[in-house]
Subunit: 475 residues, 2 copies
């Protein structure tokens, strides 16, 4: 596909062999894979090459490591349902924004009787509320003036320092001066778009894409091009290349995009940054799910490969720790001054209290501890959902293979209109996000997004069963 990738590297070839063995059930669910040393000797390659091959398989959720016992064939490799299809590159289709549908779904989010499969955040039972509240009380006592003064324009220094230190994945490439704090990641993206585009410009996004990103782009008088996105490997770089001359900025969720849950492989990230650097096109990288990985390690963001400063790396704690805190940040590369200016214009400053609480939470290892816990719960939930869907949903359902995050994308029979079914499900106190919400075109009508960041229990299982029944009845 891409020049460098044509001469297939060794590790890819080794990974492919094992992938075929898993597909043909030569290696079955739960089987232990040969040790790294065994493979090394078999193929006469370096230890590193084998490790890379295993990482590749792991990023596809085909195998999973177990502490001190090696790698095993994973549950996800045993999927019964195929992957959803890849969206098409449309540049002339008629735009029709699903505003009404989005409003409808959002207006039911506050009803506690409804099972909120449509929710965009993890269930509050998965969040360390008591510890956070303790942090708030300590901080108010420690720093009484915290609420009455404005913070520096670039944002709270302790949060910037904590985020920089804690961003190990960047291997020390960023320091506190590289970050600007924002009111959540969405506000970071807004400030980035304001900093690098002007009305009439065109922004490349994924398809299906998080509707909030699409709405914000349209509200600024920008055009959006939806780039076909593979449910496992993310944005199709070949397709992006075709429209690159018309693009003024890209806005991608490279790690566990919403709604697909896909993960762009390192090679693609590197190539994407190279392509965009060549044309001096800024990449707004929305990395708000990156820490909710199911693989062995936190995936790298594109920012890691960014030498020219074109990547604006956005993050937040809204999807992992405290949605209501509105604490986010961005490392805007060479656009830093413009982003600070935009932030100042639209919000003057962000409240210091929650920034200090989050900084303290990171600083003392509590955030990492919490992330380990929530990741393990989300991974288990993901498997439970997949199992329930395979058991209860129509046989021709297609299902994504999230490698992190808590969003599950389903593609159903062509005859099904999930926007219509939404009302029927709501009558049974079940809410989901209809697929139509995730595009500016009239597509994904037979798709839906489910949140598996809810606490698993028998009621949830029953609700998935009831949802499956609604779908079967509709066919």
């Amino acid at each position: 596909m891409i020049a460098q990738m044509k001469k297939e590297s060794l590790y890819v070839r080794i990974a492919k062999v094992m992938e075929e063995q898993i597909a043909s059930k030569t290696l079955k669910l739960g089987d232990k894979l040969p040790s790294i040393r065994t493979i090394q000797k078999t193929y006469n390659v370096s230890l590193n090459t084998v490790k890379q091959a295993y990482l590749e398989l792991e990023s596809k959720s085909l195998i999973e490591p177990r502490a001190k016992s090696g790698y095993f064939v994973s549950m996800a490799s045993m999927r019964k349902f195929p992957l959803p299809s890849v969206g098409e590159l449309k540049t002339t289709a008629i735009e029709k924004h699903p505003e009404d549908l989005i409003s409808k779904v959002f207006h039911t989010l506050e009803d506690p009787r409804i099972t909120q499969f449509s929710l965009g955040v993890p269930d509050k039972n998965l969040l360390p509320t008591a510890k956070l509240n303790k942090g708030v009380i300590n901080m108010v006592r420690k720093w009484p003036e915290i609420g009455t003064t404005y913070e520096p324009m670039q944002g709270n220094i302790n949060l910037r320092r904590a985020v920089a230190k804690w961003s190990l994945v960047l291997e020390g490439k960023l320091n506190e001066d590289d970050f600007v704090t924002t009111s959540g990641a969405m506000n970071a993206i807004f400030n980035c778009l304001m900093a690098v585009t002007k009305p009439g410009d065109t922004v490349a996004i994924e398809t299906p894409v998080y509707f909030g990103t699409l709405q914000i782009i349209k509200s600024l008088g920008l055009k959006a091009i939806e780039i076909p996105t593979h449910p496992v490997t993310g944005v199709d770089l070949e397709a992006l290349k075709k429209v690159l001359p018309r693009i003024n900025a890209c806005c991608f969720v490279t790690n566990f995009s919403n709604p697909l849950g896909c993960l762009m492989p390192d090679e693609h990230k590197k190539e994407l940054v190279r392509m965009l650097t060549e044309q001096d096109i800024p990449l707004i990288e929305d990395d708000l799910y990156g820490n909710l990985f199911f693989g062995a390690s936190r995936p790298k963001p594109c920012k890691y490969y960014d030498e020219a400063g074109i990547v604006m790396w956005c993050g937040s704690v809204s999807k992992t720790l405290a949605p209501g805190y509105r604490v986010g940040w961005v490392a805007p590369g060479k656009y830093k001054e413009q982003v600070i200016r935009q932030k100042f214009l639209h919000t003057i400053s962000s409240p210091s209290l929650y920034q200090e609480v989050v900084a303290d939470f990171m600083e003392h290892g509590r955030y990492d501890h919490h992330l380990r816990t929530i990741r393990s719960k989300l991974y288990t939930n993901n498997l439970k959902y997949q199992g329930a869907i395979e058991a209860y949903f129509p046989k021709n359902t297609k299902i994504a293979q999230p490698q992190g995050g808590f969003m599950l994308w389903l593609e159903l029979d062509q005859k099904i209109d999930t926007a219509e079914l939404y009302d029927r499900a709501l009558q049974q106190n079940i809410s989901f996000a209809p697929g139509r919400m995730f595009s500016q075109y009239d597509q994904y009508n037979n798709c839906m997004r489910l949140n598996y960041g809810l606490e698993w229990n028998t009621k949830l299982d029953t609700d998935l069963k009831r949802l499956g029944k609604i779908l079967k009845t509709a066919l």
Copy 2:
């Protein structure tokens, strides 16, 4: 000037007579005015007419009430220096935005050694920090999940209810459903502009105008027309009328504008709303200083006269209670749905904690109590500043007559360039806001804005003396 005002009403005539008596020193500083009954009998008019006449004089800071003893000639009536001049209506002048100057001034705001006459918020010593912190702790204990969930799109219900109840000046015309909460007033204005304009549109603003408003307008690709603004009565409606056909929205601070401190009289407010209603032009009314009045009662906003829903009434606690909380709101009239949509797009939601704390503070009368205290301090400071400036500044200084808020606008000798003097003052650890910051055109170079919301002490007096000396040396 305006049709209805030509046939001068009785109360205006009575007020004028007394104003002349004060000007001619027939009535001297501290003199008690005749009682309301006496005037009633003298002119054979209703009690109400006399009360209105006294209110008129009070709104001009010429007289002030003292509890149970009647009205007295006020300090402000004894001013030695004249009022600053009124800006001109320019529609063809060359725009040149004072970005660099604004950045320079803002970058020194964090230095504790500097006397911050340039600050845009009251000194933290004037704010009830301890009480607010107690509120935070109580709220976290009372409602543990407060930080981990998103609030409704329209904003925290308790804050909306408290603001509606507490907005007595509206006489019950608004309820909780009319309000949308925002991250401070600036964010409210941003959401309003996004809701009612599109790039290329033109917005009418005051001149001199708060630079933040100007910047936000430009950042959205909008044009601004600066409407001449009188230092006592605010926007010149005749001038506005001339450009009305070209205007898509107005954005005015009707009560104690920043930097002039002027107060639009009720008659003007009524006429402004009438004019704009006729043309269906939305008015974004930034009323963030309205509760810091020096007169007898809280001035009405234009919203009070708004029958058609064209006024978007914005408020916050940033200038009165807790700048760092970023708690604001807007009653957007008929544009409510659009404003909610914009809010959702750009910030998803605002943190609930501070909204609850402010709501509780209002609900239990603590906010009103605090406002009484801070108003009295600001009024005293205003007089002290005026006295110091009359004593220390060049004789041809012109000085505004704020009727509320904490901003003081000075016009100095034509030869003085305050942007240049800024550096010299900074060397002596004194910062002020150069006049050039308050326009998109090359004007107000001989003006400056001082914040009198700092705690008064001998150091402050000395600093004003040193600032006066710098000015005298420059001449």
